[in-house]
Subunit: 525 residues, 2 copies
């Protein structure tokens, strides 16, 4: 993963001429952003890790697994939000971690936490580094030093129970590796978020990730049956089996805990037989409203396909231009089915009936194929847009079906107002991609002229959008998590007493407060 | 609800001659239990509620809603486990509550908690009083007095969002009332546990109830989208919408909290259009193992019907005798389907294919009809058995598919060993009735000669069964909850650090410790 851009540097590409023209016409941007500052020109402050702490940590993980060199520290600078990338393009190394640790196993993680609590060193658990909400920002809080705890060496398939359909995976496994290990035994996890190439099993659990096939396989938090968590106070092994009435579900405190309550080292998840068949098809709805109504009917009648998304008119048009094809009329919906041949056939015909009843018509398979080709590539495109001087970013939310359209209008309005400039509105579009019985998520993409200070422009737009979401009764995040960026809205989510509950749990498990300072839990009043 | 038996006294009945003969033959019991002590002969100690506390509570709820008369106190003596009933049949009023409060709304509940915290009075939240694990035992703990907080007046449908398919229900609503309110709008909750006639919406949430149609509609905890909770520290309003990544899911602390962390006053749940069609059919499997394998395949292929249960050979035989019919060969499975005509037809044929592949054959519809007629009546039957001197009780657990048969063997063995007496083994049988991707619940029924001290006999058997469940890696309860009876196994469920987390949450929300003392959370070491 590149330190100052998304993903594999070999995938870097420039915009094609059609896209450049579209940008010039719609956003009035003709030039390009300043060149990125190369890594070797970045002024990184010296590691502040005290000698005694370093020795204690080396005694746990081994000298070679305490890295303080510049390349390691740069690669752990934080996540991959647009503000993160803007800072790094400008050569700002900000709060780089003072060291990067790569423990070998759960016991080493436990001992690292002990050592850091004793030494007063902040710990930022690090998986794929794909956070877009400041979740892995190496913020030191009140401590003199901060270490990045990279879990990449916890990469084993610990156990596979083929009868119960569950697998125990170590937290540092990246998804392609996990799929390879499971695939060799005839199973799949079915979790494919956009960050799939880099994101880790532990990160999915810690952030309540949701994948592109969540309609069929469920959100990641719904897949989890057991967690092993290292905390400064000891180890928690939380297994609820398939379901239980034995009190509160404590796993649900660690799912979404973002490294603030403990370090998830092992996750037991549902796995599924590798599907015999995988099919995607494209439909076009006369309007976004009709598309949403169709998805609602599918969800409430328990007929959802494995994946379904509905793009609004603007997203439909822009994605077609980027893919170099013609845009279909109306709103594109890509629908996927996985399973045995019989399952796919049965579900496909039931879904087709509902879609058609809402005025959808099938369109050429090209759009689905384009989506499948490009479904992990949007973050690469963002880098190309940033190169071209475009401020590009995404945000997402979730609400009830009855609140969906008002929320979409409110967020679109807030982003448009904040990012408009003389003569040019920003481009703001949206799709619906995760549906439930009672509501759905909305995923917004924004492209605007960044102006002289794109980070500041985005900061204002993000605040306005977040306030609009909270005012409309949506959740501040459906699958990006909280981190530092969404923390201002957490009290609106759970109330002041809910914040106190989280703080009490943290105080119990992490009395020194070393775990991921500044994330998730609002500071006490 | 009778104070010393299950349900409506008008439903009381005696065993028929076939059943009596079966009991004599299998258990060697010929006589009958001593007659029940009538309510007016029970020595109830005077209410210990201090005058000042009584005045403070009357100021909140009104004088007429602070009851200290004997009938009210007897009706709130506790739950409906067999040991509960044995004590009451013997006229032991034990720890009767010193008063019964019936607040009108959330704000009154909040004020009651304030008053009780100030006055040092323990509070036992009370819904339908159907606990079989000591969950509503009016245990006063270290306090001089204890009140039963009966939520029956919180009985409104607060809101129905037909588009989002959610309803907000007050906690004291009994299920038939809730179904009537929802049915008038064309909706159903789909939650029908055996305690259905009496149990309340708040109780379902506080105990993570599961209904007979959980395969189709989900467990109660999975239906909940929002909770309103009164605590001594204030009110929590927890809504996650359909799903969110905004941190830990705090609702999951209150689902299953059994009144120890707060009083749930409002629950927002998924609701469904009243199904057009309801069908039940009966199948017979050659063995319990084949039956379980079929249900596993349905669950893992996401083909579960609305309800499915598989009885073992003994349960199949005994239920047939009780219903007055002939027992089918092998293991009876009752399978239910609900939905539109097309949904029912499609699912029915997919399910039939799987069942047949596991050797099941369809049997006459009588068995399904008998089950439907009697599905809420087993607790009435238990009273008749107790009258006849039979020690009858149930217990349940849940585990992974790969652990299911070993767990069944271990629990059956433990119960049989503890309850055997010279020449007569107890009757122990079981069914599988709640299935998930990764495992299923087992529900055991026991009938034995109670001897001179049936409560002590059952206590020893229950301890042996619980230890066997814990040793086999099962959960101590799938849907009966923890209460006082399962508390000894809670540390095995969540570990000592998990217990500390629960205690810290309780300390934050209920610093005086007045809420439902002695339940759920093991005492600190």
């Amino acid at each position: 993963m590149a330190w100052n851009a998304w993903g594999d540097p070999a995938e870097r590409h420039a915009l094609d001429e059609d896209t450049r023209q579209l940008i010039a016409q719609t956003l009035g941007i003709g030039g390009a952003a300043p060149a990125r500052v190369p890594a070797e020109e970045v002024a990184l402050r010296p590691s502040a890790l005290p000698r005694e702490a370093r020795a204690a940590l080396a005694a746990v993980v081994g000298e070679e697994h305490v890295r303080t060199d510049a390349p390691a520290r740069l690669r752990h600078l934080g996540g991959k939000s647009t503000p993160d990338l803007l800072r790094r393009r400008a050569g700002e190394a900000g709060e780089a971690p003072d060291a990067v640790l790569t423990p070998a196993d759960h016991e080493q993680v436990r001992s690292v936490l002990d050592a850091c609590a004793r030494q007063g060193v902040a710990v930022v658990p690090f998986g794929g580094g794909t956070s877009v909400v400041g979740g892995v920002e190496p913020f030191r809080g009140p401590f003199p030093a901060v270490v990045s705890l990279d879990l990449r060496r916890l990469d084993a398939l610990v156990a596979l129970d083929t009868e119960s359909g569950t697998a125990t995976l170590q937290a540092g496994l990246r998804t392609p590796e996990a799929e390879e290990l499971l695939g060799a035994e005839g199973f799949t996890l079915g979790h494919f978020p956009q960050s799939y190439e880099f994101a880790t099993i532990g990160g999915y659990a810690a952030t309540r990730s949701s994948g592109q096939f969540s309609a069929g396989y469920g959100r990641f938090d719904a897949m989890v049956t057991a967690l092993k968590v290292a905390t400064p106070r000891g180890t928690l092994e939380l297994s609820r089996g398939p379901a239980t009435a034995a009190g509160p579900d404590l796993r649900q405190l660690f799912l979404g805990s973002e490294g603030t309550l403990g370090v998830i080292t092992e996750v037991t998840v549902r796995v599924h037989r590798t599907p015999e068949e995988r099919i995607e098809e494209s439909w076009s709805f006369p309007s976004f409203t009709e598309g949403a109504a169709a998805v609602r009917e599918l969800a409430q009648r328990q007929l959802l396909p494995t994946s379904i998304r509905v793009s609004d008119e603007t997203e439909t048009f822009i994605n077609a231009v980027i893919a170099g094809g013609a845009a279909p009329e109306g709103c594109l919906s890509v629908v996927g089915f996985e399973g045995t041949g019989a399952q796919v056939a049965a579900r496909r015909s039931a879904v087709a009936e509902v879609l058609a009843a809402h005025g959808a018509v099938k369109v050429a398979a090209d759009s689905a194929a384009a989506w499948r080709r490009s479904r992990f590539s949007a973050p690469y495109l963002r880098d190309a847009l940033l190169d071209a001087g475009v401020l590009a970013e995404t945000l997402e939310t979730v609400t009830s079906w009855s609140g969906l359209h008002a929320l979409r209008t409110a967020v679109t309005g807030a982003l448009t107002r904040e990012l408009a400039r003389e003569g040019f509105d920003p481009v703001v579009y949206c799709h619906l991609s995760h549906a439930y019985h009672s509501g759905a998520s909305l995923y917004f993409t924004v492209a605007a002229d960044g102006g002289a200070d794109p980070a500041a422009r985005w900061g204002a737009a993000k605040r306005a959008a977040g306030d609009a979401i909270a005012a409309a009764g949506g959740s501040i995040t459906h699958h990006h998590a909280v981190g530092m960026d969404h923390r201002p809205w957490m009290e609106a989510e759970i109330g002041p007493l809910g914040v106190e509950v989280l703080a009490a749990v943290k105080q119990t498990l992490d009395p020194a407060g070393i775990l991921n300072p500044g994330k998730l839990i609002p500071a006490g009043s």
